[in-house]
Symmetry: D3
Subunit: 232 residues, 6 copies
Amino acid sequence: MSIVVADIKRADPEIAASLAAYGVATVHEAQGRVGLLHHRLRPIYRGATISGTAVTCTLPPGDNWMIHVAAEQCQPGDILVAAPISEAHSGYFGDLLGTSLMARGVKGLVLDAGCRDIGDLEKMGFPVWSRSICAHGTVKETLGEVNVPVSCGDALICPGDVIVADDDGVVVVPRQKAAEVKKAAEARIAKEEKSRARYQAGELGLDVNKMRGRLQEKGLTYVTQAAWEKGQ
Amino acid sequence: MSIVVADIKRADPEIAASLAAYGVATVHEAQGRVGLLHHRLRPIYRGATISGTAVTCTLPPGDNWMIHVAAEQCQPGDILVAAPISEAHSGYFGDLLGTSLMARGVKGLVLDAGCRDIGDLEKMGFPVWSRSICAHGTVKETLGEVNVPVSCGDALICPGDVIVADDDGVVVVPRQKAAEVKKAAEARIAKEEKSRARYQAGELGLDVNKMRGRLQEKGLTYVTQAAWEKGQ
Amino acid sequence: MSIVVADIKRADPEIAASLAAYGVATVHEAQGRVGLLHHRLRPIYRGATISGTAVTCTLPPGDNWMIHVAAEQCQPGDILVAAPISEAHSGYFGDLLGTSLMARGVKGLVLDAGCRDIGDLEKMGFPVWSRSICAHGTVKETLGEVNVPVSCGDALICPGDVIVADDDGVVVVPRQKAAEVKKAAEARIAKEEKSRARYQAGELGLDVNKMRGRLQEKGLTYVTQAAWEKGQ
Amino acid sequence: MSIVVADIKRADPEIAASLAAYGVATVHEAQGRVGLLHHRLRPIYRGATISGTAVTCTLPPGDNWMIHVAAEQCQPGDILVAAPISEAHSGYFGDLLGTSLMARGVKGLVLDAGCRDIGDLEKMGFPVWSRSICAHGTVKETLGEVNVPVSCGDALICPGDVIVADDDGVVVVPRQKAAEVKKAAEARIAKEEKSRARYQAGELGLDVNKMRGRLQEKGLTYVTQAAWEKGQ
Amino acid sequence: MSIVVADIKRADPEIAASLAAYGVATVHEAQGRVGLLHHRLRPIYRGATISGTAVTCTLPPGDNWMIHVAAEQCQPGDILVAAPISEAHSGYFGDLLGTSLMARGVKGLVLDAGCRDIGDLEKMGFPVWSRSICAHGTVKETLGEVNVPVSCGDALICPGDVIVADDDGVVVVPRQKAAEVKKAAEARIAKEEKSRARYQAGELGLDVNKMRGRLQEKGLTYVTQAAWEKGQ
Amino acid sequence: MSIVVADIKRADPEIAASLAAYGVATVHEAQGRVGLLHHRLRPIYRGATISGTAVTCTLPPGDNWMIHVAAEQCQPGDILVAAPISEAHSGYFGDLLGTSLMARGVKGLVLDAGCRDIGDLEKMGFPVWSRSICAHGTVKETLGEVNVPVSCGDALICPGDVIVADDDGVVVVPRQKAAEVKKAAEARIAKEEKSRARYQAGELGLDVNKMRGRLQEKGLTYVTQAAWEKGQ
């Protein structure tokens, strides 16, 4: 028996939508350096930044049937997260499914497998983060599941969690932590702005972050080239 | 003894040239989901779409001599298909050879190895689908063969076959099937246009493709979150 | 004890800066096809070409502390070369460190590990050649070394050597050979210009490079399709 | 805050221990072809087959501290499942930790990262399924979590689930399904025994599985070599 | 329409069987360093050496149906060559199919995809050269072809060709060249025996192969450590 | 001009030979977790442990000529370290060269490329750590260098350094540090023996290494399953 969970709880949609503004690297840092998906997931084109609530599905090898089933569960503001249960590079997704998801207000797709029609998807402005770009077609024979917790890109994603994706990759924020992570991201941005100004003025990270003492304690030693060569 | 076959039969040049308009994914579907080259072959720049007739050659490890031999066998409308006989990432091809092939009317190169001078090739508008981008030079010491059937990108390509390449990758259409595949691609495009209109109007793939009955037969079951959690 | 060598000898800065004009492939050929870094090092955005003198550092797994230490050793015209001592994909470098290095006149970064904030780095115009794009944060706990010879991208790089990087990849020129390589690169460019004109006029590499005799000696044989098929 | 869940529910220990007898491939089939971990997880030596209940932990990059924390949560019959939160190849585990886990009755380790001391671990008879074999040491600076659901080898594993591992790889069986999967595995073994006897007697899969009709319906056609060549 | 060619011409069975004695490296050299399959094809266990005539089939993604169809076309002395048309790691082959092929006198399998039940296959003594070891099951829904030329492991293999496989990998010898390659392999073995005796006696390759003159011509220069350091 | 340095200084041969007894992981730890070669270098057969002094050479793509040149520079107790200047998988080394090196007292080979004749090399007992196993032959056309510092397996190796290799991989110890590393390795072994006894007696790493306080400070918190679920 394969399951579709039809009434998932989603993270607050405003908070979910707002996290895109901080970017993947900052959100990942803000929640304590967890939740990043594997860097094998790359955007099919550069420059898109999105955030939204996850609808999840699992995909059998070479079979994209469940993406159609999952599409019905999507609401405006969602991001579809599609996780194959075995390494696969076939093109599970193309411009027709992209048209369908756009029509439903879905912001993008995270797909740990192959994507095709990437030229058309770029023209349409429907962003996908995928493992491969591959035109090989898929079949519709075997069921998977929709809106259950999935392992995608070596990360655990529950339906309703917040997904943030940009050129740096993809990060997941658990539904219950979205508000807290938003606050931490704001604080981090503010702090980084101050550091940036100092870096632009030519100050070194060694001083901005007060690292010199600890480096010395650990034994960092400055020598001349001549001294170094003599030691070799 | 190494062979150059000098008078190969080519697919009809008009049909060959026309397949680019359908794109790789559609042509691949139209001929029954066969003939796609491995997705490790990627364009060195985005946005080019070409189709044409294959001139083939094999390449010894780190040796690009046969590309020069193959260039002489090329006619306007051809696409050169270069297949190393052992995994290799050296830069077998650069802007000088690109200049030579362009001067002969060759539309592009499919190379299951490394390519270099990619900035210049992009400026010239000579597209290459390659396995790697690598500047390492090659030697000219060992023979290969020209215009024999080759294994390139995990696909079997005969001289004179049609090659179609775009941002999605590369597909080969056997010479004898080019006309038939063109018809099937046209039919597929027409059908997709109809589906696209329905998707844009918000219809679901479940309904456009009448999938609901078969999903139910296979055992797909819709449950509430509460029911799902109880079952865990 | 970890070492920072503080007074390295650099290649002549004018020569170092001038090598960018020849590009990676030509410089690599000009010094006898050695010194190319592995093609896994790719630019985080297309179109940048730089050359300059190397400041080197080693990086413990998941720890970017030494980039801060190395930043202080950088002068205008330098390129930072950062080499992890174990395969790593974490994001060792982002826009804040990029701001710091730009403020110091550093031309770019070669990093055999992960980079993040690539959208911001592209906007700033600070080019990085990296192994991965990955937002995973790093710690600051363990020392490495600065301005010692390093193994980066499967190549040996000494502090003060010249680095050239463009869309084709990265090449290192030993400090002592920079002037000689510059001359050889100039000569190569001049020779290539002549060949290019002949290629553009439709001449074949077989004739431009006088290859026909040697190919025949090695046994290259031209046959008809009919003869080939009979031989199968 | 990092969490250790200290009183997890485990699958029935007898059932968990009994699944090893069926092997990974059969258990995977018996539960409907789900739950297999990625094939990048390979045994460090051949011939071990184990099954048991999962204790899980997450691992920061290059940091094996949480394996020590997790060790305390292990009981006889458990299998430790250690999941890095970012791709990592360092040697998180060696013979000392192996000695500790053996002393506590742990049957083996599933580690989606690097393992070292594999010669000693083989002599001791403590099996590990790992992503890499790598001696690079790790630090003890950053917390992870113990006995929370983890993504390991592209699969979702909850504490208390059953793990089965042999030369074919690793599969997870959810705690709640262990009894049902055991029954299905038994049935499958019985059926396979019958098929095996027929195969040994020289019968073909086409007949054992009554495939001929369906193949014909799908259009499979038998031709002579002469006919095939004429069609080319 | 999918084709099974039912009456292929095979290489002389005695010659085919005899090539195993020379090993893969020698046969590959003897036919001019062509025909080696990609090194990603590895034996599932060490120590088997086989040679025989190829029966070929293509495999759709995640679908092993055609192995059953191909089994019927196999005769004693054959080696089955199974080539997926898209990168795939699922376990297309296990002990039941191994039992069936052994019962028909097949010597082994070359499979550019995943294999499972490797412990049982080793016990049975049925050798497989595969791309992956993976237990993920396959379906039986889509046709491929049997006994047509295939691209397997980046090499072109025709039905009836000779396959040789050992711990070094897999090589294909075209049917028409089997006798000639056998002679060349014999000659090579004889020559190597003489060289081996000289190497065992402490002679250097520089002298056994008379390389010193040509090395000097190319510019090889012997220097002292002191001279080298001065040059740096 | 290509260089052979003919009179390199070697580490003390007794110390070099003695490091094998400590194994790769321990030596790597003893010198401060540096010097490990990339884990892509794997032994061609299990169970060999060697240590000795490095003779180094660089290898052009697909060209093994310099291994012959380097052989002459080897003395009993040496280990040959062969580093391609571009990623390569061809079989640069086989049983004839193995015979030659054995006859000269060389203990083994570290080769960041392909190796062949692995069955014969295992029978002879000549161990090789290589990147690939591949039978593809190489040519003898292009020079490299012998006994210069090389980048091999992402590590910097100078001629005369000590190499230690076992089933865990390969580590390099700079010539000048060999004696100091030996002492540190001895101390580490002694300390590990004490820890091992405590682990065997069932003590936890948490107590053996007094970790509990620091874990608590960092915020590690023990909760019940019920509490954890409520927090989700």
